[in-house]
Symmetry: C3
Subunit: 269 residues, 3 copies
């Protein structure tokens, strides 16, 4: 547990807050507002900049980039590729969210093109990670028809092949960089009943990766996010009040709360 | 009342929840997030897929489709028509929301083209239904300048001509398929003070129509929606807390609540 | 204080509510939903209409226009210019929100083109007003890296050159038309932790300017908005509950509350 003590994970939150990194997000229309609110509540500085007229230029200003293909179209694909290329050229981290990547031919092609641009982290549900790893399944929008457990082997293979950290989120999260791996048992069953909370998490992971080890930063972001879900779940009466309490919890929770509440299980190599 | 007992209406909610249908939504940018949240809270599975690169292909995966012209533009019009055509070819229901259809020439033309693609249900306010039925009025955005009562005759004519169910929503809702008709007296005056709740209802109607009689399914969706508004109105202190309580109520209400609370008035043929 | 007594400011709210003006908004994707909800809660009638197929035509119907460049792209730029031109031709007010105008070349060019179309009011943070006034700084997305005090001189110069009212918002707001000036000390530190509240305010300013003196209308809108923030801050436990309480407060506050709570400091010419 040298790598992943709860104290070391909580340091990733403290570092993100102290940095308040400017993160460029090219995300889907459903997620834009809640993703910005999640990132602001957590202490990051989000900017939604996706036009091909400026996406690559802005990637030179931002400290990290997140790309989400949820409502991508051909006009946006070019901006996504240009921004990712600029981020890599600038030595900055970028995070890929392959929403429903197995559902249509357009998404499969776009997912493969973005994967080739070497994201630092990929965050998806089990079906998306399986699809991206080459085991295409029938997609059902952004739902996860496959379990996280089924996706663990595919995630490890994807992490090794793509040279990145892969996070499979669900009732239990699984994170690996191909050499190290861990499961996170924080979270609440109401989270998938609020749209785009997974997308918003991807933006938050990008904020955590600024000047931090991507594997550990991803674990920190996921444990913090799940813990905020647990706190929200205690007072929520449904998905409406859950979303409100979740944003409040992201704002209220600090590194000490994360040290006390993170439920990480390191998996021996 | 054989058709429309409250018990039979409540069965439409039970059926939708048991099916958790995957519904493709091509909707406007204002509505996307709240429409997804409304549908998730109610128990459906929404996917916002509108790019011309994949809209028709995705219509082959989804179980129903909703199309809303609120922020349509020429690039989206083609995707709307292709998706509607694919839905009809696949024998699946699709629902049209003709937002502010009378306001501009672009909307009038697009509305007529979509109407020709034979929606299963049209849901709009009185002004929109009047405009779509050919009685063009001066549009005022998404507001309803005309009363539901004025639109009842137009709705019946439109239902007969287009061979579909037409729902006119307002303080009292009116639903007809040209042969059967009913009014629904559920709802709350705060509902029009939260943006896009009408749009979100259109997505929910699409979810209800999967494998159900469109006329009865529409009535069930509207009564359930209005009842959730009544529940939310009891605790809300303004439009912000109303939206939160409304999502909670959509999640909490079940078929038995609908049996007890639906206020349907069947109109003799 | 003849111009700016709290009573006269509160009349701007009363007038806006009585008019319930139809305001066309060409705004960014992050802001669309919350901007519509803010305007509905306050008593205005928002319509989000931005397609080049109808933006200028709709400007002929609407009573005011707001333009926000937060997620503009080349396809939208033309619609923005056409709608602004139509508004000016129709003698109607329009309000410019130059989001992150200094951040990229595309934004600088677009900002200059829109400025030439003679907005009635410009509302931005200190960095944006400085950038638009020609003192370009490194942009950090929508954040304000510069203080309002630093921007006061630039705002006055911009107001005189562009012949409009300029509002610089921040912990203390500054409003000037080049001849008159005032500071507003209403507001709450949680406001920048909720995304797009500044954007939403721009739409509200547009509603206030209908048939009212732009300088006084802008002051009224800003004092009312800040006061709603203060009310929300009393009960909020974080940015989630703040947003909910803020919408409730916008709906609940009336002219008398504004008379009692506005904190305006007129600056001698």
């Amino acid at each position: 547990m040298t790598e992943l003590t709860e104290t070391r994970l909580s340091e990733t939150l403290a570092h993100m807050r102290a940095t308040a990194p400017l993160v460029q997000n090219i995300t889907n229309f459903v997620a834009m507002n809640i993703q910005a609110n999640v990132m602001l509540a957590a202490g990051a500085s989000p900017a939604m900049v996706h036009s091909s007229a400026e996406a690559a230029e802005f990637a030179g200003i931002a400290q990290a980039l997140s790309i989400n293909i949820g409502t991508a179209d051909p006009a946006w694909s070019g901006a996504m590729e240009a921004a990712a290329t600029a981020s890599v050229a600038g030595g900055k981290p970028w995070v890929l969210d392959p929403v429903a990547v197995g559902a249509t031919g357009f998404r499969r092609t776009l997912g493969a093109r973005l994967l080739a641009l070497r994201p630092s982290v990929i965050r998806g549900n089990a079906s998306e990670v399986l699809a991206l790893a080459g085991q295409l399944r029938a997609g059902r929008g952004a739902d996860a028809a496959d379990s996280v457990a089924e996706a663990e082997a595919a995630a490890t293979r994807l992490a090794l092949q793509a040279g990145c950290t892969v996070a499979v989120t669900g009732p239990v999260d699984f994170v690996t960089d191909g050499h190290r791996a861990a499961r996170i048992r924080n979270g609440h069953p109401m989270m998938p009943r609020v749209t785009a909370l997974g997308c918003a998490l991807t933006g938050l992971v990008a904020a955590f990766t600024v000047d931090q080890d991507p594997f550990r930063a991803t674990l920190g972001a996921l444990a913090y996010y799940g813990l905020a879900g647990e706190v929200a779940g205690r007072s929520a009466e449904g998905p409406g009040s859950f979303q409100v309490a979740f944003l409040d919890a992201l704002h209220a929770l600090g590194p000490n709360d994360l040290t006390a509440g993170a439920r990480i299980e390191e998996i021996p190599a």
